[in-house]
Every structure is written in structure tokens, then in C-alpha cells.
Symmetry: none
Subunit: 195 residues, 4 copies
């Protein structure tokens, strides 16, 4: 064993970068193994096919992975206000997609899912769960209908995602943009609150 347990990891790492830069189709297995410094055969020792690796990497950039706090039932105790909680979620989200070419991969994944049913399925599940859970959390903070919460969370999410394909067209910093988006959502929720 030359690099105990590191070969597979290295392949995934360089593949992630190549896929991000060139797209899933244009990045070749040849390039991946060359950059990873392994032989072609080694690739197929760890992955049954290029498609298998694509799936693995695509699954890892699902939006639900970007908001782990949404899964933690006790997290809200640290955030007394909805505003602080949304800011926290937003930061998680933005920093997740800012790392390791994930934003680029996310858009490649969105393009990919049309021809990879497995990816499409996972995306739809991930998306549903994310929206529903987000809405549930909002409902815990403020007394609004589930639908109002859902619309609000969707707009919140949409804006964050949009940031990644429009950031070059604007001059807002992540931080500032997030603050403004949260404000918009809160304005709406407060006006929707049932008295």
C-alpha cells in the first residue's frame, strides 16, 4: 500500500476540480488520472465507471448538503431570533458553495439531471426536503401559515442560489447580500404574521 486510503480520495478531489472547470462530459478519465498521478486502471479499481464518479460528486453538491443545520434539531437554541437563524443558514449555504468548486458543480448538476434519472431523482428529493424543512423551521419562530413560510424560504433559497450566477454582475459582498435578502424575507413574514 503506497498511499493507504488516499488514492480514491485524490481521484475524487482532482475529478471535482476538472468537472467544475470543464463540465462532466468534457473532463476525461485520462485527464483525471493524469492529474491524480495514477494509472488508468487504478481509476476503474475505485469506480465502476466514469458515470459512477459523476453521480458521487453530483450527490455531494445537492443543496441539502449545504444547510446541515436544517437537520440538527437542537441548533435553534443558539439562534434566538429568526433573523439570526436565517443569517446562520445563509452563511452555511454560501460558504458551502464557495468551497471546492461546488457552485460550478451545482450548475453542471442541474444540467446533468436531464439525462441522468438517478441524479434527477435525488435532486427532487433533496429539494423537497430542504424546502419543507426550511419552512418548518420558519414556522417555529413566527406564527405564519405553512404556505407563507414555504414561499418565504423558497425566495430565500432562490436568492442565495442566484447569487452564484449573478455575483459577477453585481458588486455586493456575500455578507451584505445575505443581510439584505434576510431583511426582505423578514419584511414579508412580519406582514404576513397572523395577529
Amino acid at each position: 500500500m503506497k498511499n493507504p486510503g488516499k488514492t480514491r480520495e485524490r481521484i475524487v478531489r482532482v475529478a471535482t476540480e476538472l468537472f467544475a472547470n470543464k463540465g462532466f462530459d468534457r473532463a476525461t478519465v485520462d485527464e483525471i488520472v493524469a492529474k491524480a498521478g495514477v494509472a488508468k486502471g487504478t481509476f476503474y479499481l475505485y469506480f465502476r465507471s466514469k458515470e459512477d464518479l459523476i453521480k458521487e460528486i453530483a450527490f455531494d453538491v445537492m443543496p441539502i448538503m449545504a444547510m446541515p443545520s436544517l437537520q440538527d434539531p437542537y441548533i435553534t437554541v443558539n439562534y434566538p431570533t429568526l433573523e439570526s437563524y436565517l443569517i446562520h443558514l445563509g452563511k452555511e449555504f454560501l460558504s458551502f458553495y464557495s468551497k471546492g468548486y461546488r457552485a460550478e458543480l451545482f450548475f453542471h448538476m442541474l444540467s446533468l439531471r436531464r439525462r441522468m434519472p438517478a441524479v434527477d431523482e435525488i435532486y427532487k428529493q433533496a429539494c423537497s426536503e430542504l424546502l419543507r424543512e426550511g419552512a418548518r423551521r420558519i414556522s417555529a419562530y413566527i406564527k405564519v401559515s405553512f404556505e407563507d413560510a414555504l414561499i418565504s424560504f423558497q425566495i430565500f433559497l432562490a436568492s442565495l442560489i442566484h447569487y452564484f450566477h449573478a455575483r459577477e454582475c453585481l458588486d455586493f459582498s456575500e455578507e451584505y447580500f445575505l443581510k439584505r435578502v434576510v431583511r426582505v424575507v423578514l419584511h414579508h413574514l412580519k406582514l404576513s404574521v397572523s395577529v
Copy 2:
């Protein structure tokens, strides 16, 4: 001459559909010409390369194409209120991307631009112009800072785009979703109005 002047158009049409379904890389020139009922050579009579056709089709699904009203200086006379105007823009946008596989192509384009500088350039321009023009229009209706208008329009746009990759995860109709998004934006703008 079988279909005077129609050959090129037919190629674009079938290519659009194939690109939407299979992605720009996976749809082949062979499939395109087969479906268009022309010979391989004919394709290269109208397009210098597959990439040329891709660019042409990619350019046609830029978001700025989806809101022609934004270019028309006299359109606002028909929409006395900001709400009615945003509803109009939203309908334009949603109906544009609902037709002819444009929503699918839009996401393929977003993936594509990483490796096609020409597409990237156009997208950034289109996006900047769209956001800036949208903000300008909002400013014409209501007295808010340009930045507030920009954030609002961006959220408006982001939500509409998001609708196309989350519509399967939700139960909202286009119409209803649009109404709700406009309401969120208006809530925010009214609270941001400078008195």
C-alpha cells in the same frame, strides 16, 4: 429546393429540442441531421461548426430575451402600478421559458458558460443589463434607492428562475407563485420607501 429557406430553421428547431433533452455535448450532429431530414454536409453549409449552432441557441435563451418589455420605453404606460408591471414582466418571463424547452436549455447554458468564454461573456452582459434595467424601472414607479431596487429585482428574478428547477417539488401554479413573489417584493419596497 425542397423547402426554400426553411432548412436552416428546421435544423435549429430540432437541435433545440435535442440539446434540451440530452445536453449540448450529448446531442450529436448525426442525430440533428437525421431528425431534420438533411444530410451531414448540409449542416455544415449553414453552420461552421456544432459550436456555432450551440452559441446561437444559447444566446436565444438568455434571460434578457425573456423580458422584452424591459426594452420598450413606452410599455409602462399600460401598467399604472408597479404591481401590475411586475406581474406583466413575470408572466412574460415564465411564458418565455415554458415554451420550446427553453427552461432546460437555460440550465444547460449555465453549465456551458464555464467552458465557452463567448457564452460566459454574453451571459454576464445580459444579466447585468437585465438587473440594471429592472432596477431602473422599479425606481420609476417608487421612490427607493437604486440599491434597494436592485436587490428587489434580483430577488424577483431569482425566484422566477428558481421556479423552473423547483416546480416539481412544489404545488404552486405559475400564476399563484408569481403573485406571491410580487407581493414579497412589494412588501419590501414599501418598507424601504424613502419618506
Copy 3:
């Protein structure tokens, strides 16, 4: 059109030779196209896959192809005696498999059919039809049970086939061997004739 209708034919011809010499698996598409003087792509213009070409060539060496007289209803008028008819069939058979590497291909086909159901199916059909038709012809010459005719024809056929994998171990000429085999069959049939 450089070689009207000849390219495909040339590929089949050189493939036949290569398959015969190296076996279906060991002869590569690269070798075939190199020897045929065409590009790799050209191969796939005429054959969907290597397997398709293999099937085509395998079908052409089925034993039934080696005895066309068996299909001709009027042929027996030229051969007044069973002996002369069997000699004729035998010559047809031996000369068929002596040409164009067919004997070698026949044995490759016999090995191949275990893993290619389509070939297996065709072989079993071809074999059944050949045996049954041969027996029917014998019955037309001499009054024996169909079973006796069947056994006789099978032994006749088996001996001819065997000639191709044992000819190097013996010193018999085709002609002489055939004469002797026919004699054996006739001896048997005459002793089996129902009086």
C-alpha cells in the same frame, strides 16, 4: 464515392481471413481496418459493432450453406444413383469449406455459439434442417426407414466435418476419403433396406 459498394465487401473479406487465423476474439477491429486500408470510423459506418460483423460471417459458414443442392428440388434428376448423389453432395461440402478459410471459421463458430445465443440458435436450426433434408433425400432413393436415413446422413456429415480437423493426421485425399465414406454409408443402407 471512391469505391462504389466495395468498401464493405473488402472489410468482410479481410475480416474473414483475420477471424479465421486468429479467432473472433483475437482479431481486432484495428487490424481489420488496417488490412482493409480504411479508417476506423469507416468500419462503424458499415457495421454497428464488431459483434454484428462476427454474426454475419458466422452465419455464412453454417453447414447448410455448404450443400445448396439440398435445397434444389430438381437436382436429383442429374444423379440417377444415391451413390452419385452423395458424391455430389460431399464434393459440394468439401469444396465449400476448402475455400476462403471456411473450415477454420466453422470451428471458431462452434466455439463461439456458447456465448452468442443468436449464433447458437441459427446453428441449431441449420443443423436440424440439414439433417432432416438429407435424410429425406436418401429416402427418395432407397426404401429405408426415416431413422435409418437420418443416422446414415448424420454419419456421412460427421465424417466430412471430421475430415477438416483430422486431414493433417491422415494421408487421404479429399476425393478418396469421400469415396470411402460414401461406400460405408451405402453398405449400411443396403443392409437396412426393407425387403
Copy 4:
């Protein structure tokens, strides 16, 4: 040591089955070791190469292995008549090839010998020896020319071999078919006997 001295044997056994089902080329070392439950390296501990194993297995299905009685100088004392002796030889032959995928392997071997000189050599030797020895035995029973005996034995052998690639096309049992073939041979020999 898990199974003292059994590893090599197990490899041969599973390889035999895989080779029979998939052919020598299509069965891989990977499959063999997986099915044998040993590591890749272990295979190369017992065999210098895949080809070595192929040779070994190919040698074991040579037709001469199927008639051990032919090597035993005293066996004929148990079979007073030529008929009983031929029946005995035939049974030996048929039961040999009915066991352990040997019939399948025999045809793969026949295909293989074109590209493996060592196998070709052995096959020709085995075949010559078998035919000559068979003819010699016949001559010991009945007073015919060596050539008549040779032809007879060849037809006997050919029919038995043919049984293995035509049995699916007929309805004869092994036993019955053998009896009929022996009868044909005897008819011929008796008519050829020198008086």
C-alpha cells in the same frame, strides 16, 4: 494454509467451468480468482500465465484422453467381440465428454489451436495416435486392411464427436446412437473383410 494442496486444484476446476461457458478468451483471470476465492497474486503463484492454464486444460480434453482403454494392452480380453469392444470404447468416449464441460472445452480447443502452436501440435499427435491405435485394435479383431480399419475408426470417432454438436438437433439417446453407429461400422467392416 487453508486447504493444503487444494488451491491449485480449485483454480483449475473453476477455470474449467468458466472457460467452457465463456470461451478461453472471454473468461478472465479476475473471474477465475473471484470464483476460486483466492487473490490475484495467488493465481500467478501456480501458473506462470493465463496461457499456461489454458494449455493445461486444453491438453486434458484431447480425444485420446477419452479412450483410456486404447492404451491398455490387456483390455481386449474382456471384450470378446469387436462389437462389444467398440460399444465399450464409445461409452468411454461419450461419458468422458459428458462430464465437466469437456464437450464445450473440446470445441473451444479446436478453435484455439489455430493460434496456439503448442495446442495444435498436441492435438495433431493425439489425433494421429488415437486413429492409428483404434485401427490397430480393429485389425486385431477382424481381418481387414489397415486402411479399411482406419477409415472405419475415423467414421466411428467422427460420429461420436458430431453427436456433441448435433445432439440438440436430434432425439437419439447416447446409448441408442452409439449402438447404431457401431452397427454401421460393423456392416462396413464385414463387407470389407478379406476372405
